[in-house]
């Protein structure tokens, strides 16, 4: 017994020791990620004389209220859609359930700016929907009858909600599948109804997953400029933009962006504080999914239709519309030869950024496992900060930082070797990859951390008792066991990179267009119809990873029994 204790203590000590390497690398990564934000601080410090007084007395209060309403609305819609659909496909067995499991992810393939513009067109008074309604009601001109304008707060909330709910659906469903089974079954044994189980057991248990999902959806909301611009919603992000572009006040925009960042950090801290006393420990070996309930045929049909609704609204309608528009465009103007180059650029940039993001995320998340504590937790949070800042703002920060690097390398090369290196980082693909990594590290680090949390600590102890080094434990125990979480994070990051616009737009090399930048170029001058092919391509490229994502989730718990 004593001997066993001694071995165990030694193992823990050696784990601690080797864990410090992970912590060091994680610190370096966190530093690299936080650099652009530091760059913004420098810019903000340049000062902006009269900005705040003006903003406080004019737009800021409105923008603040609108942002809060938008966030609350999108939070509610994504939470409601994400949790109910996740419950639907895990708790009940009905025809079409398997298809819904992956189909519910499809709206992820539709960027917010695309959903906004497709619905503006579909629901326009001269569009087919209102045309059909007028025909049914016997009116013949939109001047006699038309629906309220889509350009509104409520329109924005619903449209964003319908494409962002998968961020909640994914982690919540994973939670239902792997964590809640035994407790739910216990509740069922105690005679609690299926519905009550959802409200009283499953939902409270899934709360961390729901919270993570909502926070991702809200960050995406804060990042959006396109949809807000189309729908006329004045958010703080739009204010940052206006300050920079219309008033040529970059320091002011940087100050606003940092203030926005503070709000986000406060929100995340608040959420963590709210569940500080909750611990979710389940014994992994006995944890399993809940038993699905078979339902009658008519009820099954109803459930299927209910589950299909968000898919149709968030993916079906826009994809159908884009296909029709792209087809019209193709017949009208043919297919541009640029499309192959754009596909190549889009995929390469997204793939490189995904690899960097996953490797970095893995290190940061793993550091929290081998060296749990305030320091590694802080590193994880710091590394995730980029997700909260608008893409354009990150891009400006990246410019400021790389400018410094390029200048340094150039000076050194000139002084030592007598030749100029020119610009190595800025205007090469590296700048884009860097910005995308900073933006999306939160997704990979967060997702992988959640995956690691599901691996019981007893396995670490077993491995170190058997004399395995920390690195060996990582390679042979944790890496294989968190494969599902890593793949899911990689797919999600890839899709996000394909959709990302502002940072790619600002930092890409000469002559390089991606689908998103091409789409924006057309949209910027109002020629949406010419952009329909690029828009369809973005959606199409994202579909495969999205479907793969659902397969990753289906592989239940990969914990050995």
């Amino acid at each position: 017994m004593d001997q066993a204790m001694a071995i165990s203590t030694a193992a823990v000590r050696s784990a601690r020791h080797s864990g410090s390497g992970w912590l060091t690398v994680a610190s370096v990564i966190a530093f690299v990620v936080v650099l652009p934000i530091g760059g913004l601080l420098l810019e903000a410090a340049k000062g902006s004389a009269d900005l705040w007084g003006h903003l406080l007395s004019t737009t800021l209060p409105v923008a603040l209220v609108d942002t809060i309403i938008l966030l609350a609305g999108v939070g509610l819609v994504t939470a409601a859609l994400g949790t109910t659909t996740a419950w639907l496909v895990t708790a009940y067995e009905f025809p079409g359930r398997r298809m819904l499991e992956w189909a519910l992810l499809l709206p992820l393939a539709v960027p917010t700016y695309i959903i906004a513009y497709t619905y503006l067109d579909i629901l326009h008074p001269i569009g087919s929907v209102q045309g059909a309604i007028r025909w049914l009601l016997g009116y013949d001109s939109p001047r006699q009858f038309r629906l309220p304008d889509t350009r509104s707060m409520i329109g924005c909330i619903l449209l964003l909600g319908f494409v962002l709910y998968p961020y909640v659906y994914i982690p919540t469903r994973a939670m239902f599948l792997t964590q809640c089974g035994n407790l739910i079954d216990a509740a069922r044994t105690l005679g609690i109804s299926r519905r009550a189980v959802f409200w009283r057991v499953a939902l409270p248990l899934a709360r961390p997953a729901v919270a993570v999902g909502i926070s991702l959806a809200l960050m995406e909301t804060l990042n959006d400029i396109g949809a807000a611009e189309f729908l006329g919603v004045r958010t703080l992000t739009v204010s940052v933009y206006t300050t920079w572009i219309t008033r040529s006040d970059l320091p002011g925009a940087a100050q606003l962006a940092l203030a926005l960042l503070l709000i986000v950090v406060a929100l995340v801290a608040l959420e963590r504080w709210a569940r500080r006393k909750q611990h979710y420990a389940t014994d992994a070996r006995r944890s399993r999914g809940l038993t699905v309930q078979r339902v009658s045929r008519p009820k099954g049909m109803l459930l299927f239709l209910a589950g299909l609704m968000p898919v149709l609204l968030g993916f079906g309608a826009p994809a159908f519309y884009l296909t029709a528009e792209a087809w019209k465009r193709y017949q009208f103007a043919g297919l541009s030869s640029r499309i192959i180059d754009e596909a190549f650029n889009t995929i390469i940039l997204a793939a490189l950024a995904t690899i960097a993001t996953i490797v970095f995320g893995l290190v940061v998340a793993y550091a929290t496992r081998v060296r749990p504590g305030a320091k590694s937790a802080m590193l994880l949070r710091v590394s995730s900060m980029g997700y909260a800042a608008p893409g354009t703002v990150i891009a400006i920060g990246v410019l400021i930082v790389l400018d410094g690097f390029d200048g340094f390398i150039n000076r050194t090369a000139t002084a030592w070797f007598g030749f100029s290196t020119g610009l190595i980082f800025i205007g090469s693909g590296i700048a884009v990859v860097y910005a995308l990594t900073v933006r999306f590290l939160a997704i990979s680090a967060g997702g992988i951390e959640a995956g690691l949390l599901r691996i019981p600590g007893s396995l670490d102890h077993a491995a170190s008792s058997l004399g395995r080094s920390q690195t060996a434990t990582f390679l042979h125990v944790h890496l294989p066991l968190s494969k599902a979480a890593i793949s899911a994070a990689a797919l999600l990051v890839f899709v996000d990179c394909v959709k990302e616009l502002p940072a790619t737009l600002l930092l890409r090399p000469l002559n390089i267009e991606t689908f998103a930048t091409h789409l924006y170029g057309e949209a910027a001058r109002g020629t949406y119809e010419e952009a329909s092919i690029a828009a369809l391509a973005i959606v199409a490229i994202s579909i495969l990873p999205v479907i793969l994502l659902s397969r990753v989730g289906r592989a239940r718990s990969s914990i050995p029994r």
């Binding site: 326009h124 390469i348 940039l349 205007g427 590296i430 600002l506 170029g521």
Partner: protein, 340 residues
Amino acid sequence: MNPRTILTSTFLATSLLTIPSLAAAAKINVYTTREPALIAPLLEAFTASTGTKVNTVFLKDGLAERVASEGESSPADILMAVDAGNLVDLVDKGLTQPIDSTVLNAAVPEQLRDAQGNWFGLSMRARVLYVAKDLDLASFNYEDLADPKWKGKVCIRSGQHPYNTALFADYIAHHGAEETETWLAGVKDNLARKAAGGDRDGAKDILGGICDIAIANSYYVGLMRSGKGGEDQAKWSEAIKVVLPTFKDGGTQVNISGAAVAKHSPNKAEAVKLLEYLVSDEAQKIYAEANYEYPVKPGAAADPIIASFGELKIDNKSLLEIVSLRKQASELVDKVGFDN
């Protein structure tokens, strides 16, 4: 994939991405906030006649920031921008250099270029009125937009959009800030819907019965009416007619697209040649025909669709004055809550 394969392929792919930016140094490089499709025909024609290859990067926002960050090593030769304000910003940030070219000075009227030769206007667009076809309206003053008889009938894009802040700045130049604020509040009261979307939505929304009049740029009508944008847009443009509004004591508000030679341009001689080409009769014709913009060169003809709006009487306030009032205009937009 083992870590080494990932590392190697990352390195290879990164080098691939880096090559274009390094190899581009020998050519002429254009950084532009103009949408690629608008300038592509011009640049292709230039390459065809001179053999000089033109690389472009389309940067909607952040052109100045990027060039500034690139500093002395910047590969940029020419900076192209829409809106006089953006060009003046480039000069203020020290990113341009003065060019003394007799060709440019002869082709571009004085009020459409920088006095020191830092930038040159290349084409013009007017901020015009789209009117529902059946509406009896032949002339219009910008001042009338605030007339309560248009309550619930006016469509316009975001008041913070540079096209609109330039118009509002012009209003300040004519009437002063106080009157402009009252006028803006009046226009806001007349809006049929949120100030959002793009200029073409004005025509579409007139067809959709949402509004009767809309403020938008002149060249969109050419793009729509010519059928280049497809059948749907042709239909929108059939629902409207165009009136060239004027200020009561002035003319129609115009803005320019223009270009400057970058301060650290590695291929300055070629860059000047491209600018000179852009004001040639051939290029000015392309601006007029492909983009439906007004040519800057005196005597060059506008496209027939654009010419059909009637004679353009350019407003008497200088572009520089309008640019200097832009910030004030943007603040007034906030003050009256134009976009809320």
